[in-house]
């Protein structure tokens, strides 16, 4: 069922604020993301983008404000329960399981859907056999979508960097999310890989019926992929709009290039 009711809200954030001691990392952040949208969140270094992701996914406790995901208030939920409700994410500095094989990295994401328990595993019951095969088959599907099936038995630590990034996205998709949060997916990629990545993001959005919220530094990725963009600086929203509007917004230029440069450009 594709984006038939493409207007229902998937993620609604209100007044989200985070203090680290006396430092206000995020202030009064709000966003309203509709089903099937591809939204970008940009801002200079240290603007608080990743902090917002960490609050949405329950890794950081929220200082104040609410996060509502598909009518569930997930503000105070622990990370694993947020994932169960259908939010998957990747990390800015990739967080793979280095000592697990590529296949196991993806199978781990299926753990909460496992159809067998601890004792089935120990006794190697029929249920274990069926459940394990099902998990493996589904994980292999994700690996082949991302062209990683040839690496299935190698340790994740031994993959090239770009493949590790792709595997991390595959792993996030294997948790069967409705909303995918991508934290700087293009970091450390060369221009060729970036073009591939942009295609991949569009492809997975359509193939898995996803809503995507994306943090990115590389302007060409954000401008080329996102339907609309929220810009934050020093924890506060400074602009919102389509890529074209953002490109022409003087406050955004100022935040990125400084006020002098912004004046000169004008």
């Amino acid at each position: 069922m594709a984006q038939s009711n493409g207007n229902s809200t998937v993620l609604k954030i209100d007044g989200l604020t985070k203090f680290f001691g006396g430092l206000r990392a995020v202030h009064d952040f709000e966003v309203d993301i509709k089903e099937g949208e591809l939204v970008g969140l940009i801002g200079p270094n240290g603007a608080g983008k990743t902090t917002i992701f960490n609050m949405i996914t329950g890794i950081y406790p929220v200082s104040s404000g609410t996060v509502v995901f598909k009518k569930h208030n997930i503000t105070d939920l622990p990370a694993h329960e947020v994932t169960h409700l259908g939010i998957g994410r990747t990390f800015q500095n990739i967080r793979i399981f280095p000592n697990l094989t590529v296949l196991d990295n993806v199978r781990v994401a299926y753990h909460s859907h496992a159809s067998y328990g601890v004792f089935d595993g120990i006794l190697r019951s029929r249920r274990f056999g069926r459940g394990e095969k099902e998990m493996t088959d589904r994980a292999m599907q994700f690996l082949s979508v991302f062209g990683l099936e040839k690496y299935q038995d190698s340790l994740a630590a031994n993959l090239p960097y770009g493949e590790q990034r792709r595997m991390e996205i595959a792993r996030a998709l294997a948790t069967e999310p409705d909303l995918l949060l991508l934290d700087e997916p293009a970091a450390g990629m060369n221009p060729g890989e970036i073009v591939e990545l942009m295609e991949l993001i569009h492809f997975i959005r359509d193939r898995f019926d996803l809503t995507i919220l994306l943090i990115e530094h590389q302007m060409r990725v954000v401008m080329g992929v996102c339907e609309w963009i929220t810009v934050i600086d020093f924890g506060e929203i400074i602009a919102r709009g389509t890529p074209q509007e953002i490109r022409d917004n003087p406050r955004v230029v100022e935040a990125y290039l400084g006020s002098r440069a912004a004046e000169e450009l004008q």
């Binding site: 399981f97 909460s112 067998y116 601890v118 274990f128 394990e132």
Partner: protein
């Protein structure tokens, strides 16, 4: 893979059959002196204990000192059961067993009820509702107090009730059932029950200790569990105040010598096969994932805390099982065998053999015992050099092979199953068919 490879269970069966035959010949023909026979048994027992630590430290990444405490808990509790059956020190021949089973059953029942009631979620829901009336701090204090009271009440009422019933049941059922059998036979049955009861007690205490501690990481966890190890040691030293037969610092005597090679081999076979199947399952992968990256594991929907508690509890059960076998091997227990310093021994075995390798851990245990005890064969004037030779060997192994003998590799039936598990009836070789989603 064109030819269907040998199934893993057949490899395991063949391996243990060969070992059994070898041990039978060795032990019945007297090929080795009794001293060396004891070393083989002690090494296998230590291997079981080290496998437990390998689960905690190697697989779950929990740097927990205090393994010897659980080894001791298993040793003393199982020894109390078998000694009681043999000498009837508590009046009734199953007084010890009934008490132990009562505690265990009551505790398990109480924990089951608490988790079924889902108290944590109820607390959170109540707290949210209260926050509309009173301040968050007040509601937090109030709900926490209430939760503790309710959990305590369940522990007393459900735990006490079920425990009392279980104790009565053991007292009523076991003596007539086993009393008619000759002592040699009934002792074996009681020994079996005692081993399991000892392992379960170690697991339960590990669970209780782990619940508050396992939110700590690395050195903090190490210090906290070290504290537990010291507490347990002090308890063993003064245990005669509570249970006179434990004899405290004088050492417990009169434990029947029941640990024979079939028991040890059987326990080891079960221990290592369970460990293998456990770790090569979805639960095992979750534990490994938590070790590799806790935050990523949480983000994959794994409740990392829960899996740390699980790994710790099962690891403690292994220590308890090994302790039970140890108690009935030498028939003498002394608190000094369970000091926190003894918790270092299994670490040496695991690190020496290979952290996160079952094969390596087992090898490490044998190397450890052989070096420490085997070097006693040195001539009298050199015997004290054991403690020079042994540390030097450790030192050189760590210098030249820091990953241990095996690294994370496994041998034979302990090898990681290839991507498509070889367990199911017909294993389709790695079908990468992803034709349709």
């Amino acid at each position: 893979m064109k030819i269907r490879s040998i199934p893993t269970w057949l490899k395991a069966l063949a391996f243990f059959a060969v070992v059994a035959v070898v041990l039978y010949v060795v032990f019945s023909q007297g090929l080795l002196t009794e001293y060396w026979q004891q070393i083989i048994l002690a090494g296998t027992i230590l291997a079981i204990s080290a496998l437990g630590l390998n689960l905690k430290y190697g697989y779950a990444g929990l740097f927990a000192i205090g393994h010897a405490a659980f080894y001791g808990i298993g040793a003393y509790s199982s020894a109390l059961v078998t000694k009681d059956w043999t000498t009837k020190w508590s009046g009734s021949p199953v007084g010890g067993l009934a008490g132990l089973v009562g505690i265990e059953a009551g505790f398990i029942a109480a924990v089951a009820v608490i988790s079924l009631l889902d108290i944590g979620h109820r607390r959170r829901a109540l707290k949210e509702r209260l926050e509309e009336i009173i301040s968050p701090f007040e509601s937090s204090v109030l709900t926490t107090t209430l939760t503790i009271l309710v959990a305590g009440a369940i522990l007393v009422v459900v735990g006490g009730g079920v425990g009392w019933l279980a104790r009565r049941a053991v007292l009523a059922v076991v003596p007539p059932l086993l009393g008619g059998l000759p002592m040699a036979v009934s002792q074996q049955i009681i020994f079996f029950i005692a081993l399991i009861a000892g392992a379960v007690l170690a697991a339960l205490i590990g669970f209780v200790v782990g619940l508050p501690l396992l939110n700590l990481t690395y050195d903090y966890l190490c210090i906290a569990t070290l504290g537990f190890g010291i507490v347990t040691y002090v308890f063993f030293n003064n245990a005669d105040q509570l249970i006179p037969t434990m004899k405290g610092a004088r050492g417990m005597v009169g434990i029947p010598k029941l640990t024979t090679w079939p028991w040890v081999l059987g326990a080891f076979a079960v221990a290592i096969i369970v460990m293998r199947n456990f770790i090569y399952s979805s639960t095992g992968r979750a534990i490994l994932a938590v070790r590799d990256d806790l935050i990523a594991a949480d983000t994959m929907g794994i409740n990392s805390y829960q899996y740390k508690v699980l790994a710790y509890t099962v690891g403690c059960a292994y220590a308890g099982l090994a302790g039970g076998l140890y108690a009935h091997l030498y028939a003498f227990l002394h608190p000094s065998n369970f000091t926190w310093l003894k918790s270092i021994d299994p670490f040496v075995m695991v690190v020496f053999g290979g952290v996160g390798s079952m094969t390596g851990t087992t090898m490490g245990a044998y190397v450890f015992v052989t070096l420490l005890e085997g070097l006693r064969v040195l001539p009298a004037e050199l015997i004290d050099w054991r403690y020079v030779i042994y540390p030097l060997i450790l030192l050189f192994v760590m210098l030249f092979r820091p990953q241990g003998i095996m690294g994370t590799n496994e041998l034979g039936f302990l090898k990681r199953p290839k991507s498509v598990s070889d367990e199911p009836d017909e294993a389709p070789e790695s079908t990468a068919s992803a034709s349709d989603g």
